[in-house]
């Protein structure tokens, strides 16, 4: 009989105890996976929103722009720069932007706002931002109208109307409903080289940003319109790069820093541009780790208790087996196989039980409302509870459980190593 069959049978020697141990491990893994998947999902969502609606994974600026975000630190997107970027196969999207601040007024109210000048079609292709238009319609590159973010529109009391009118086609009257924005917005700002600039722009739609900060201040404007408004023809303040996989980020950032003239440009990752988000995630993640640690500590003691009992019950048998001629190392190996079996069943059980729950919430994320939603917004997170479906979560936590089994098994391995055959047989 090979060691695997023998270990398998040994494992089921006390069915109830084995099942309880496996169930406790599976439950721990289930809760750990659910908790971590929700946590990581929230972080991924926050990062995705930030990266796709604003920063990109990597951003190129004129040198000094990030410390002093003024239009004088904008730059012309020339062919040589583009050719360097386009030569990187992992760069999926290149999005030039012109960002600057302005005062936005509507009737009696004025508020500071961020103008995001961008090519709408290009932006929409990579972020599907047109789906975020909650009133009115999306803009195109040639439009002379703007979109206003939901929070800003509310502050400025921009008028929204649901209009219904009848149209006669082929002699038949049809009722048509339209959700329209019937308002304009006045922008007053400082353009390039200190020139003052202003303009009146029709509001074509209201756009909702998942990021609460952006949702309260953005005016979304076609790039050329923004360049005209800020008197910054052909200039951009940043080029956002969306990568095919975020894992490439550091390498590509380094490549660009090595390739481009760093006296002219600066290349920053989204983490460098949003340190607050990174810190919030790290702080929150640390809290999660503490919870997971406590969970695994409890389960670890449970496993250890089982191992101690198994060892005590079988000490005599260990003595007999060694007396008969099995080397202690082989006996240790056999016991380790038992532990691996038990751990693996626990891991598979935990993963299988967590899988349908995670799949459900992956496709149907929980959306918060009311005070809880506001609290999450205040913390800079979208009030939604998405789930991360990253296989590394399963692998990491599976390994943690196996390590717990292995660490617990060290007790038995130590017992076998120090086993006095005579004493064990007399046990």
């Amino acid at each position: 009989m090979n060691v695997f069959t023998l270990s398998w049978r040994n494992m089921w020697r006390n069915k109830r105890r084995t099942l309880i141990t496996i169930a406790s491990v599976s439950s721990a893994l289930f809760f750990a996976l659910i908790m971590r998947a929700f946590q990581e999902g929230t972080y991924d969502r926050a990062i995705y929103n930030y990266v796709h609606s604003f920063s990109g994974h990597v951003q190129i600026h004129a040198n000094g722009y990030w410390d002093e975000q003024i239009l004088e630190h904008s730059f012309v997107m020339n062919d040589s720069l583009l050719s360097v970027i386009e030569a990187i196969p992992e760069v999926e999207k290149i999005i030039p932007r012109l960002h600057s601040f302005t005062f936005a007024s509507s009737e009696y109210l004025t508020k500071a706002a961020l103008v995001m000048g961008v090519n709408p079609e290009q932006d929409d292709m990579q972020s599907n931002i047109s789906n975020n238009v909650i009133f009115g319609s999306f803009v195109s590159a040639s439009d002379t109208a703007v979109l206003v973010s939901e929070g800003l529109a509310e502050y400025l009391t921009i008028v929204r109307r649901d209009t219904t009118f009848s149209e006669t086609k082929n002699g038949t009257d049809t009722l048509i409903s339209l959700r329209m924005v019937k308002d304009s917005i006045v922008l007053i700002s400082q353009g390039m080289y200190g020139y003052s600039t202003n303009g009146v722009y029709p509001v074509q739609g209201i756009i909702s940003y998942p990021d609460p900060e952006m949702n309260s201040q953005v005016i979304y404007m076609p790039l050329q319109l923004a360049q005209n408004f800020f008197l910054a023809q052909n200039r951009v303040t940043s080029i956002s790069l969306i990568l095919s996989d975020k894992e490439h980020l550091n390498r590509i950032q380094q490549y660009l820093q090595d390739t481009l003239d760093m006296d002219v440009y600066e290349v920053m990752s989204w983490q460098e541009m949003n340190i607050e988000l990174v810190q919030q995630i790290e702080t929150d993640r640390a809290g999660g780790y503490v919870m997971i640690f406590i969970l695994y500590l409890i389960i670890g003691f449970g496993i250890f208790g089982t191992v101690v009992m198994m060892t005590a019950e079988r000490k005599r048998e260990f003595g007999i087996i060694v007396a008969l001629g099995m080397r202690k190392t082989r006996l240790m190996y056999r016991f380790c196989v038992e532990m691996v079996y038990m751990g693996l069943i626990g891991v598979v059980g935990g993963c299988i039980s967590a899988l349908p729950v995670l799949l459900y919430f992956y496709y149907n994320p929980v959306r918060f409302s009311g005070e809880l939603a506001q609290m999450m917004k205040n913390y800079g997170f979208e009030p939604i509870l998405p789930v991360s479906f990253d296989m590394s979560l399963f692998v990491d936590h599976g390994l943690i459980v196996l390590v717990l089994f292995f660490v617990s098994a060290l007790y038995t391995l130590g017992t076998i190593r120090k086993l006095e055959v005579i004493q064990a047989i007399r046990n």
């Binding site: 009989m1 089921w12 008969l324 055959v421």
Partner: protein, 228 residues
């Protein structure tokens, strides 16, 4: 020809008052013997068997088995030596509960890395010799005490050892099972020419032995060969 030679064997258990369990035993056992080491409880017979079985080490003296002084062996070498040279039958049977009767017998041969076919054939042959061929697929929990001890005897012989040490093998058995077990061991002793050394104070075992070594207070009191 002697296969076991014991010279000036001493064993002292350290305690507040040291216990001298074996005090200078000199003995030899020849191939094919069917010997009983007898004596009252605490006389040192189990300690003596444990030492010649390499399970316990003497405080002083030598144990030479087939020209190998087992005191010179490392713990790992001792385990291998036991595997290939010594069979054990314990008072409490000590079969592996998760293995069937046949698998328990095969277990030792598998440790010796013998081919599976040979293991199975030899296991069945031995189970037949102890009258348990029809219980080969049964686990120990479903066997009676006598049947378990017969499986233990088959297991002890499976590795084709030089000798079998049986420590009070009949202590937990009823009269019928004891008679049956002793007949089986007697037959195997003749058939396989394996040396059997028992520690016992069971008269039924003593009556079958061809040599009786009496130990008392750790010393050999008498050593007599019996013609049967």
């Amino acid at each position: 020809m002697s296969i076991i030679q014991v010279h000036n064997l001493h064993k002292t258990f350290e305690a507040a008052v040291p216990v001298k369990a074996i005090q200078g035993i000199d003995l030899e056992f020849a191939q094919g013997e069917f010997s009983a080491v007898v004596g009252p409880s605490g006389s040192g017979k189990t300690t003596f068997l444990n030492m010649i079985g390499g399970l316990d080490s003497p405080t002083e003296g030598d144990i030479i088995i087939n020209d190998t002084n087992i005191r010179s062996l490392s713990p790992s070498e001792m385990i291998d030596f036991r595997l290939h040279n010594i069979g054990f039958v314990f008072q409490a049977y000590n079969l592996i509960p998760v293995l069937t009767a046949r698998e328990n017998v095969e277990f030792i041969m598998q440790l010796q890395k013998r081919p599976q076919k040979e293991c199975t054939e030899r296991a069945m042959e031995l189970l037949e010799a102890v009258g348990l061929q029809d219980r080969a697929g049964t686990r120990p929990a479903k066997l009676s005490g006598g049947q378990q001890q017969r499986v233990a005897v088959a297991r002890a012989l499976a590795s084709k050892p030089q000798f079998v040490l049986a420590d009070e093998p009949t202590a937990n058995l009823d009269t019928a099972s004891t008679e049956n077990l002793l007949d089986i061991m007697h037959n195997l002793n003749k058939k396989e020419d394996v040396t059997f050394i028992f520690s016992t104070h069971d008269k039924r075992v003593i009556d079958k032995a061809r040599r009786i070594v009496t130990i008392e207070d750790g010393k050999v009191l008498s050593d007599e060969a019996i013609k049967r």
